[in-house]
Point group: C2
Chain length 454, copies 2
């Protein structure tokens, strides 16, 4: 390791207690976007923390929750753009938390707090990396920009218009997304893209009130109609039957397939974690990983009609609904898929179906050869002792497309913080403190080395 | 009208206030079988009321709630058997009741109480008919037996064994079921049979916990499996696809078809009451009535999986379930249909389906030419001013089979009390007071005339 980074890592180690305290201070401020709790307070706290470090910050107010934006110049007149969000998921079910979700308790080697793994820990790791460089070297080698939204946990409904209105401001040489994580063996991994999503709710209404089920011979049952409808969307071989659904799917490149071969997918570990009986279509090993990363989905996230309580009640329901989410892969376009879904339903004769759109965004993918990808991967070994693995696409969805497509930026997931048992979106969310300190080191190395790369 | 009935009807009119008070007293005693509330108290109250009238009564205790049994001799050593139940449905949602469900409030021409239409009003009408004959004529022309169960509202799970153990005791010349009702125009109607039922819950479990929906490419989604399964049970032309399902269905006789032609099915009234947009398969008029009365069903009473709250949450559910009820027509046998369902699922390759049986009983049908049917129909005009219409089978289900098959009895629905807006099983259950008094007259005429019929 070169002298400048060795010194920097030492400095980070020496100051780790205060970096942990800064993170705890930030986690103690609730910021639940779904329930509109603490958004103003959290965005103000964040802005002040950024200003204290020396970042020129402001709150940008458009529709929805404000974006916290900040920038700081470096020696070179180029910028790296960091994307994060300051909002967190709701805390329910509260009774399952061992510690108060906004107390940021430390137990053994971990910090427990809502949002600490998703993604307040990443955000603070970035700010602390910047702080440590400034304190030690007085100047950054390159400028940094921070785009921190407050609606990621509710599907980023206004992100597109924020990004569009800030296009000039957000100019940069590369973008680091909200963060990578560690796999079941503790291996760091990050990613170059994210699936898109299209989330619709299909509702069928046949009567004003539920009726005694004896009327099911004369009044249509919306649950049956929904079953027949859904059955036309996907068959039991997992083929999605919407005409043209696969038209725009880009086949994975050879390089992308090779990237997966380097990643160990521990199917037994997953089986245990999820209590899975059988994998889909009896897939195994690399097949599973390929399906997870490369396949688009048509998934029933929820379905409901009629009586769902204990025991028996005979009813012909008045309505039925299904929540269906599609995860889209490059180059599928959500607007196009929605249009194809509507055409499909029409063609199949399903009338009077209410389609509620719960949001969508496109998939995104960057090259592993971009400068921001290379510097992230190359510096990872310095921070974690091993080079991070890279997924071409994270199986989850994220609104990365606004940065790749609207801003024409290369994007990479970033530093590797969370673990499989970090309980993201669930009670007892946590991170390992050492992982947080390692992430500060990783981000500081990215900042120090970006400009040096050809 | 003959002198003896004219006198009797006058007597009933003169005493109607006290008959209403007896009914209110009975309705004020809760007796919710599903929640085990007031069962002992109500069966004791009923027994005492019967004894006060002069009936020799007892509580028969087997498995489940006790049966209240009573008998009283008549001039002739024959008996009519009355079937009723003293239990009622739960009162939830309580906030929708205008009056307390067990206050038996009188407003305008109606009594409001849980159970007053189903079927405490019928039971009391029968007891008051008997009381009025005894008070006026000191003796009954024929003996009466009362079989009053306490579990009808939870599917009569122990009825079969009660009836089997009381076979000798229940010997009679005919049986009157729990009561007919009035149609949308106020026309009295009763019935000669009831559909059977088979109620199953199908459960599919694929994992120990719900997962993020990104895993839906590798972990099976039970909601999809359920959709594919249900799709094999019925097609969108309403054909039930279980092999052999229709094998034992008796075609309606010409006489039964003619009976329906005499009944006006007011499709516009039903459409308004239920807020129905379109009838099933665009059926109209008599077609609707025929489907309602003669068709067996395969109905989804409930379906649930995954996230069913507001907005969007992406999840691959760990379980899915559907509650499916089959209404069976003569001579379908529920055990046989259950076997055919299981064979069907096996044949179609659906494994690991948990089938929970929530109960079943067979359909039942009696002849319109039986003495109990003829006397009920002939005397109806005296009580209501018009002869009651007769359905060969009520579209609802009822455990009538134990009386037709085990006791070899002819059965008819009986006096016509409830109305389409009586809100059976719903908040603000009610009856029209005049209908109750008319029912007392009808039952008293049945008792007075049964023996006279050849």
């Amino acid at each position: 390791m070169s002298e400048d980074l060795r010194k920097l890592f030492d400095y980070i180690e020496r100051n780790s207690n205060s970096y942990v305290e800064e993170l705890r201070r930030f986690c103690k401020q609730e910021s639940i976007s779904a329930q509109k709790k603490g958004i103003e307070e959290c965005s103000e706290l964040l802005l002040n923390m950024m200003k204290d470090i020396g970042i020129k910050g402001e709150r940008i107010r458009g529709k929805g929750n404000p974006v916290v934006y900040g920038e700081i110049k470096g020696k070179k007149d180029d910028y790296i753009l960091f994307y994060n969000h300051y909002d967190v998921q709701p805390i329910e079910p509260l009774e399952e938390w061992v510690y108060e979700p906004f107390s940021a308790e430390i137990r053994d080697d971990r910090i427990y707090a809502r949002g600490v793994a998703d993604n307040k820990g990443n955000l603070m790791a970035r700010l602390m990396a910047l702080k440590s460089i400034l304190e030690l070297y007085k100047e950054l080698p390159i400028g940094l920009k921070f785009f921190i939204e407050g609606e990621e946990e509710v599907g980023s409904p206004n992100l597109r218009s924020y990004v569009e209105s800030m296009k000039e401001k957000l100019r940069a040489k590369g973008c680091v997304w909200e963060g990578g994580d560690k796999d079941v063996r503790g291996m760091p991994q990050t990613y170059l893209g994210a699936k898109g999503i299209l989330y619709v709710e299909l509702r069928i209404n046949t009567a004003g009130i539920d009726q005694h089920s004896m009327y099911s011979t004369i009044i249509p049952n919306p649950a049956w109609k929904l079953v027949w409808l859904l059955n036309t969307l996907k068959d039991d071989k997992e083929n999605i039957l919407i005409e043209g659904f696969y038209d725009d799917v880009l086949k994975p490149t050879e390089e992308e397939s090779r990237m997966l071969e380097e990643i160990e997918f521990n199917e037994e570990e997953y089986r245990r974690n999820f209590g899975v009986k059988n994998y889909l279509l009896n897939r195994k090993g690399l097949e599973l990983l390929k399906a997870l990363v490369f396949n688009p989905t048509c998934n029933i996230s929820g379905i409901e009609a009629g009586y769902t309580g204990k025991g028996s009640k005979t009813v012909n329901p008045s309505w039925a609904m299904a929540k269906v989410d599609f995860r889209l892969v490059p180059k599928q376009k959500p607007e196009d898929i929605l249009g194809k879904l509507k055409a499909h339903l029409k063609r199949k004769g399903f009338k009077d179906i209410e389609i509620i759109e719960h949001g969508y965004y496109a998939p995104a993918k960057s090259s592993i050869n971009s400068r921001i990808a290379r510097v992230t991967i190359e510096t990872s070994k310095l921070a974690y002792g091993q080079t991070c693995k890279v997924l071409p696409i994270t199986p989850g969805a994220g609104p990365m497309c606004y940065f790749t497509d609207l801003l024409d930026l290369d994007v990479i997931g970033g530093e590797c913080l969370g673990r499989p048992d970090s309980k993201i979106h669930a009670p007892n969310e946590n991170i390992v403190i050492k992982d947080y300190i390692d992430c500060i080191k990783h981000v500081s190395a990215i900042i120090m080395r970006f400009s040096a790369l050809s």
